[in-house]
């Protein structure tokens, strides 16, 4: 019998990132079982993600039992900064990877003693584009903008804004020195995400952090 080939089109209809999503779903279930509220903190390089976490961990000392996973391209600097305020920090070195994926979070969590932990911060790689599409198993996605980035960044990153459960606008202490159109920024956000809360904060001076801490404790 001679071999013949025939060309066939096979319908599939499955998510491209199904493998990542499956791991994220398992992480989410595990965290829920343990009563851990998990935040995927995303923002541009220099927006103040690590500074925000430092201020947050300092304020939560004695009130909550947080753990932190921190994605960093090439250094241990962020992890070392955060380890001063939290005894459960795992650094995820991403090499030249531009975002975290569910497998990295799962593997980092396996290095942590989660007994008693009730809050998990995952500091994503500094990037407004790549991290958004990868589910990590978080409970909420928090997007961090800062005044120094300019007021057009919401409009330029629709996926980031649309997916956020909370937006923070950092470095408001610098407002007198910058021409940041706060109303225009919010109008762009509202077109993409009508209901997301926007909190103005300064991780450096502590201004506005109470509202952020209240949002956290209400979860």
């Amino acid at each position: 019998m001679s071999e013949q080939t025939r060309t066939v089109r096979l319908p599939v209809m499955r998510r491209v990132l199904e493998a990542n999503d499956d791991i994220a779903a398992a992480t989410r279930a595990e965290l829920a079982l343990r009563g851990i509220f998990a935040i995927d903190l995303m923002g541009a390089p220099g927006s103040g993600k690590t500074a925000l976490l430092e201020a947050t961990l300092r304020a939560l000392a004695g009130r909550r039992r947080p753990a932190v996973l921190v994605g960093d391209l090439a250094t241990r600097r962020d992890g070392d900064r955060l380890a001063r305020w939290c005894d459960r920090v795992v650094q995820i070195s991403t090499g030249d990877g531009c975002h975290l994926e569910a497998m990295q979070v799962r593997d980092a969590l396996a290095q942590l003693d989660l007994d008693g932990v009730d809050l998990l911060f995952v500091e994503n790689v500094g990037n407004l584009i790549c991290p958004v599409g990868f589910d990590l198993g978080q409970t909420a996605k928090v997007g961090l903008f800062s005044l120094t980035e300019g007021d057009d960044k919401a409009a330029k990153h629709p996926y980031f804004v649309a997916e956020a459960d909370l937006l923070l606008l950092n470095k408001i202490d610098l407002a007198p020195h910058l021409s940041f159109d706060r109303a225009g920024f919010e109008a762009d956000v509202r077109l993409l995400n009508p209901s997301v809360p926007i909190l103005d904060i300064s991780a450096t001076t502590g201004e506005g952090l109470d509202a952020w801490l209240t949002w956290l404790t209400d979860r």
Partner: protein
Amino acid sequence: MLGVHEFSIAEGLAAQVLANAPAGARVREVEIRVGALRGLEPEALLMCWDSVTFGTPMAGAILQIDQRAWSITCSDCRREWTSPVPFVSCECGNATPIPSGSDELDLIAITVDEVET
């Protein structure tokens, strides 16, 4: 490795294609659908796809990307249309119509050469 998320998407896609292709079949074409929200760069994905599939049964397979447009709704005149970009003005003068886009990223179908004996 390229420091772009399109590389991770290409890797996920290759795994999903292999999982759904009959054993030993040569993959000729791969069809995906991408929602507007994803902001995917087709050129970057095509480049990553070639790199990821090199030396596999998917090498040379054509990647068809059905990139969905933004749906735009004017809150003043109720006109609805589609656009490749989210922030556009309406003919009626409204400078801030409402954009909406989906975040789908799905493998729709694969076309393969099956060997019949």
